[in-house]
């Protein structure tokens, strides 16, 4: 960017217009008073929890380099994911429980050839999950949520969205989410009855409204829900941001409800327009809760933002939706969020994040490692010349 762009009058005028529209939107999104009163009504406090017995809680996170190497029409993607399981402990707060798997590292090679690309991606999904793609599709309840009638597994598999090899954004999203959910699935399989397993994010199913196309991780997400139900494990997705219109004044409602300026330790279940008859979100706004899930907003600590917790609606409504159980769940989350490294956020997710994240140096080293291996296998090093760097774009 040229150094004087931000000084130009035209640019400043455009920014001024944009911010005016943003401010107007805030006013427009402000809920009427009766809606505000309803929000105040659904907010529930829970106590600061410093003692906890028999809590087992796990967290997963993923990352990767998308792509780590690109040459010709081919791309190599690296995916990492990690999961960690902890038990409450009177001395350490949480003590890690050993699991049979460590950090998952997966390399995926995609080319411009459609058949190769699809086969490679599905093979990666299979390796990550430890199940074949067909198994996941068959045992997932995703199709039931679509209400699209009986569709064969083969048909669903054929209609899975496989992005082009160069579409790093979408390929990366699919690989990373699949890897995260695969780690969650492994944790669910090993976690004891009543344990909590959390992923970073939401339980959104982006293509659930479509008749045919779907993403593999949507099936996998619901497969995790199915396995968690069968195992008696609470499976949820915790997002650090709630993604709701900022004009809802939720924090203000919490302050009203709790009578404190620094309102913390509260939660509210997001009303569902279909179930509860009302919702604070606009009709054309984000669908919260997503299909097959229920959504809570929760504030664990005043220094951390309001977070969003999505849970499998099926399991929760049938087995766990009593106020006492809601209180217990959020007390457990509060307890798990008292680690000094990430106060106000459940530590197991943070621990998984730390294990799966890649530093800049690690990304560079990984790239060199992949290229060295390829050269060792007989490929020319010049193939992997970084075009952006060679042309002064990096």
């Amino acid at each position: 960017m040229r150094f004087d762009i931000h000084l130009r009058n035209s640019v400043r005028q455009r920014l001024s217009d944009l911010s005016s529209r943003m401010a107007e939107w805030e006013v427009r999104a402000t809920p009427p008073e009766d809606l505000f009163a309803r929000l105040v009504n659904v907010i529930q406090p829970f106590p600061h929890t410093t003692q906890c017995e028999d809590l087992v809680i796990g967290g997963v996170d993923g990352s990767g380099e998308f792509p780590v190497v690109a040459y010709g029409d081919s791309f190599v993607y690296t995916t990492l994911s990690a999961g960690a399981l902890y038990k409450s402990d009177p001395i350490h707060g949480l003590r890690e429980i050993p699991t049979s798997f460590g950090t998952t590292v997966e390399f995926t090679w995609l080319t411009g050839a459609e058949q190769q690309r699809k086969a490679a991606l599905l093979e990666t999904f299979g390796r990550l999950t430890g199940h074949s793609v067909d198994e996941v599709i068959e045992h997932s309840d995703y199709s039931a949520l679509r209400r699209a009638g009986r569709v064969s597994t083969e048909s669903v598999r054929n209609d899975l969205i496989i992005p082009p090899a160069h579409d790093a954004g979408n390929v990366g999203l699919q690989l990373r989410t699949t890897a995260e959910l695969a780690s969650a699935l492994r944790l669910i399989e090993e976690a004891p009855l009543g344990a909590i397993v959390l992923t970073d994010g939401t339980m959104t199913l982006p293509f659930v409204q479509r008749r045919r196309q779907s993403l593999f991780f949507e099936h996998l997400r619901r497969f995790c829900c199915v396995r968690a139900r069968e195992k008696g494990v609470i499976f949820g997705a915790l997002s650090k941001s709630h993604g709701l219109p900022s004009g809802l004044r939720i924090e203000e409602a919490a302050r009203d409800k709790l009578g404190r300026q620094d309102a913390e330790h509260w939660y509210m279940r997001m009303p569902d327009r279909e179930v509860d008859g009302w919702s604070p979100t606009p009709v054309d706004g984000p669908r919260v809760p997503p299909a097959g899930a229920i959504t809570y907003l929760v504030r664990l600590h005043r220094n951390t933002p309001i977070m969003r917790l999505d849970l499998d609606a099926h399991y929760w409504l049938e087995a766990y939706s009593t106020p006492a159980n809601e209180q217990r769940l959020f007390q457990h989350l509060d307890y798990a969020g008292h680690d000094q490294r990430c106060f106000g956020y459940p530590y197991p997710i943070k621990a998984a994040h730390d294990r799966a994240s890649l530093s800049t140096q690690e990304r560079v080293a990984l790239r060199k490692q992949v290229i060295d291996a390829a050269v060792g296998a007989g490929m020319k090093r010049t193939l992997f010349r970084d075009a952006a760097q060679a042309t002064g774009h990096a």
Binding site: R95, Q340, R341
Partner: protein
């Protein structure tokens, strides 16, 4: 000789891994543990043709976290967030980073089947495993001794044991070649850092050395003339219930050992009251002092030193007595005439040796019946025979201490020079040992300054 693999096995488990490294500093990342500045580490390495072990001492430790978390944030959370905790992970999250200096490296020599120690001119390879030398494990001490054998030596004075952190490796004695005592050695440090202790260990080492070589005669005996301004080496910590000093060591000797290594004394003092056997009153005679001795410890102008030398050439050993008695006559013989101011200035400088002002220097004038009263010949003979002499100088002034040092050193070096110049050193050496016998040629009055216990061998 142990191989690199055998030594590594004796050092296990691994302590950490080498991170950044340069010839001036190594950084090691290690698991969380109780560590101390000064800990000793070994880094096995195969960079180069021969196996090597780098020896490295920690000079700095820091607590770090495994991930890129700001320790300040964690500490703030711990301080300000009630009931927070630090979860225990299976993978070590709390680590220790240490920095330190490479002391050198031991390299295995196939031809001699031994390890030779070298200066730190090379670096270990990347990410080398690091092993800590644990004083509780004798095997690790043995490994260090083998690797440092060429550096620490197996003969000479034991001056202590190699320190690994806060504790010594009892199987790794550190030795000083006896010849090193004739070189300049400086011991410097802050109060309480162990300077006196090192000297005490050195004195003890000399005594042990002299006892050991008695049977083999394979090496020279060593001598130390220790000026002790705090009078601490004789009894060391015995007064407060601790270890005894030279007195205690000597008390454990047999009669024969005392005759060979202690007699006639090990302790000289300015006090008249002597507390035990083999102690003596320290005393020099004016006859022992030359103008050059005084020029070493005092400021003299050229005229003043010339005047002193003229007196010395004219009156010999009586020169100080004549000057201090005021019996100097410029005109009595041919010679340079000196200004009264010069004469007075030299008189003032020698004032600390006037009768009544000194506990060290005795008068000497055979014409007046003042014989030679000095322990210098005994000191020289003792030092020639291999002795440790501790001199308590608490009652001596600064100038007296300097004079004692200077006279003893000058006389000793003059003897040594004479020995080297002699055509046949052996008879000459016999002459120096007979120095004390010539003492009887001087008229002397009995001093009783050297008390001997009954049964001790007589000279």
């Amino acid at each position: 000789m142990a191989t690199i693999e055998q030594i590594v096995r004796s050092l296990e488990p691994r302590f950490g891994v080498l991170a950044e490294s340069s010839t001036s500093q190594l950084t090691v990342v290690a698991g969380n543990g109780d560590v101390a500045i000064g800990d000793l580490f070994l880094l096995p390495c195969r960079r180069g043709l021969r196996p090597r072990f780098y020896v490295f001492r920690a000079t700095e430790y820091a607590n770090i976290l495994n991930r890129t978390i700001d320790m300040g944030d964690v500490a703030r959370n711990k301080l300000t967030m009630p009931d927070s905790y630090f979860a225990e992970d299976l993978a070590e999250e709390q680590l220790v980073e240490l920095r330190g200096m490479v002391l050198g490296y031991a390299e295995y020599d196939d031809s001699s089947d031994s390890w030779s120690f070298n200066r730190p001119r090379r670096l270990p390879q990347h990410l080398t495993d690091v092993y800590r030398v644990d004083p509780d494990h004798p095997e690790s001490g043995e490994a260090v001794r083998e690797l440092l054998r060429t550096q620490l030596g197996d003969r000479g004075l034991v001056v202590g044991h190699l320190l690994a952190g806060e504790r010594p490796l009892m199987s790794v004695p550190v030795r000083l070649p006896v010849q090193a005592l004739s070189h300049h050695i400086g011991v410097f440090g802050r109060t309480g850092c162990g300077k006196s202790n090192l000297i005490m260990v050195l004195l003890d080492g000399v005594l042990r050395h002299n006892r050991q070589i008695r049977s083999s005669y394979s090496e020279c005996k060593a001598s130390v003339f220790a000026i002790d301004p705090h009078d601490e080496f004789r009894t060391w910590h015995a007064g407060t219930g601790g270890a005894d000093g030279i007195r205690g060591i000597v008390a454990s000797y047999s009669e024969e050992e005392i005759a060979n290594h202690v007699s006639p004394f090990f302790y000289l003092t300015g006090r008249d009251a002597l507390d035990g056997p083999f102690e003596a009153r320290v005393r020099l005679s004016r006859a022992d002092v030359t103008p050059d001795d005084l020029a070493c410890i005092l400021d003299f102008s050229e005229q003043q030193i010339a005047f002193a030398r003229q007196l010395f050439s004219r009156y010999g050993e009586r020169w100080i007595g004549r000057l201090l008695a005021g019996e100097i006559n410029n005109d009595d013989e041919a010679g340079t005439e000196f200004l009264p101011g010069t004469i007075a200035a030299v008189e003032r400088r020698l004032g600390f040796m006037t009768h009544g002002n000194t506990r060290l220097v005795s008068r000497f004038d055979p014409d007046l019946g003042l014989g030679y009263e000095s322990i210098l010949p005994d000191i020289l003979c003792a030092l020639e025979c291999g002795r440790v002499l501790v001199v308590d100088t608490t009652l001596l002034g600064e100038l007296e201490q300097f004079l004692l040092n200077t006279v003893v050193a000058r006389a000793l070096f003059a003897l040594r020079r004479a020995l080297r110049l002699a055509d046949s050193p052996t008879p000459a050496r016999g002459d120096t040992r007979g120095l004390r016998r010539r003492r009887s040629e001087w008229p002397s009055r009995p001093t009783g300054s050297c008390r001997r216990p009954s049964g001790a061998s007589q000279r």
